[in-house]
């Protein structure tokens, strides 16, 4: 009996916030795996701000998703049928399986997952790409030193919450910027020294108050006015990590460049872009270290799990309205 696969393809390039009609929900017959192939039953799909960029035309660090093509996404699943010598039925794997129920694979580009290490959604969160982005961006580019003041925007998100906790582990003073009292309370629970609610506070004034010696490391997930506010409060030789700019991804006008960028000159500071895929060879060691921190209770992970593949278009919007609490994950079944 042939399996039916359901999937979302990109139907149109979104203008501003993605609309449900920018995606097509399709049904197809799933073919049998050939020699060297296997079928993955997709269990959890990671919903990430970066996906918005993949929907746009133009040069980036990966090619855009084509119109009519399966929408790209990181996901975790288990092998349910295999003609591959190294991927037995029951094996858990992570990869770019996309927005669908079943993926056919020959094993290329997949990472085996140890389901005993942590619950599967955590493997898409703190022990997955978001956690790894935080780890390498903060430690390799930010180079925080004990006593430094580290500020992170999007601080309650999947990347930001890990940035702040790792900075605390390294003896830094940590200030998080997030939207809303709930998220700011959560930052307190995670051990942040201060939290700024950008929806309620004057971010520039709040940074001045909470970073009296200036910002040594600014990890930016947000861009726009928050990046500009952080630039006014840099310490000499500050390091800014440009990880994302979620405030700008749905712009229909040009991206707002940081007006205060000349603060880099005044403070001899730097602003550096990062993409986590550059650090692939070091993923296993970083995951092992973060798993130890989790086991020791020093690093906490929170996931916001939405049920049902069909919820994808609505669920994705939570990222841009800031409604999600923790890493946004779609549970397929």
């Amino acid at each position: 009996m042939m399996r039916k696969n359901h999937r979302f393809t990109l139907a149109a390039r979104p203008v501003g916030l993605p609309k449900p009609t920018d995606f097509a929900y399709e049904e197809e017959d799933l073919r049998e795996p050939g020699d060297g192939e296997f079928v993955v039953s997709v269990q959890y799909i990671s919903l990430d701000p970066a996906m918005r960029g993949w929907m746009n035309e133009g040069k980036s660090y990966v090619r855009p998703v084509a119109i009519g093509e399966l929408m790209r996404a990181m996901a975790i699943g288990s092998v349910i049928e295999s003609k591959h010598p190294r991927f037995a039925v029951g094996t858990h794997v992570a990869g770019l399986f996309g927005l669908q129920e079943y993926a056919m694979s020959n094993g290329e580009g997949l990472m085996p997952i140890d389901p005993k290490l942590a619950p599967l959604p955590v493997m898409l969160s703190t022990l997955g790409m978001p956690g790894l982005t935080a780890y390498f961006g903060l430690l390799d580019i930010g180079k925080p030193v004990a006593g430094n003041t580290v500020v992170v925007s999007g601080a309650a998100g999947a990347v930001g919450s890990v940035v702040g906790q790792i900075a605390k582990i390294h003896g830094c003073r940590v200030v998080g910027i997030a939207g809303g009292a709930d998220k700011c309370r959560y930052l307190g629970e995670l051990g942040f020294d201060a939290a700024i609610d950008y929806k309620a506070a004057d971010v520039k004034a709040a940074l001045r108050e909470s970073c009296p010696k200036g910002i040594d490391v600014f990890f930016d997930n947000v861009g726009g006015d928050i990046l500009d506010a952080a630039l006014t409060q840099l310490a000499p030789r500050a390091r800014i990590i440009i990880c994302g700019a979620i405030s700008q991804y749905n712009n229909t006008t040009p991206v707002k460049g940081p007006s205060n960028y000349l603060s880099l000159l005044v403070n001899r500071a730097s602003m550096t872009g990062m993409v986590v895929f550059d650090y692939t060879p070091r993923f296993p060691a970083a995951i092992a270290e973060m798993a130890q921190w989790m086991a020791a209770g020093k690093l906490r992970s929170r996931e916001d799990i939405v049920q049902g593949l069909a919820q994808f278009p609505q669920a994705l919007l939570k990222l841009f309205t800031g409604e999600n609490h923790g890493k946004l994950v779609l549970q397929v079944a």
Copy 2:
């Protein structure tokens, strides 16, 4: 008989381009030097884009010039009267003597000048702060490697022309951006591989054509649209040096931030600010190396000398209209 000193003080904080009425031309009696003091007859005064920044209020890498205070400037002169054991009459010195005919000094912060090394105006140009800015910005932050593509804006200026020539000495392909056919012709004479006339060309298209493998190092003196154009053409792991932003110094509207800054993320590139005064201990070695290059004919210097202290307000404007050809220097006598 008492000497009369003439000098320019800052009369008002300029709005936009500095006007003659933003300065006051004053006459004062010059007192006799006390013990440990000496009188410098100022011969050549350096006119630099950075002076525009010193006229503004607000935090920067040096304190602003106060209203009523002598206008700050680097200059070179000779000791004409001395009660200081180490500064004999006839000694040449460089320092922040400001816009005036005579300066009283106790020797603090001065650099002795060897007038046999090069003509005095060159000591304010290629062998002075502009040349040193080029040297340390390019080599320490840009870290060019033979075969790299190096792009410099304000390329015909005192800093830019040295950046390009040092990059050539290090085996790079060098593209200069300057305003007007004359300046672009001059870049050709200096050995630049390509010159882009931003007044005549579409800079973005011209950079695409002249940097087919992307820009490895961008040394920016200009900011604004030219920085944005360079950001669209970065090579992976490009280094941008933020040295200045002359296009923005006379803005009466907020500085134009670089809209394309997310190219830093896509290309894992960095943007770093620099201030030459951080490298003071290494000045003598850098000047010695550049003097050797000059003697070997590998590094050429050009100065645009305006006669007469009283010409200061008009002469300064040449920097912002782009009328100067080479380092702008005011000859006092």
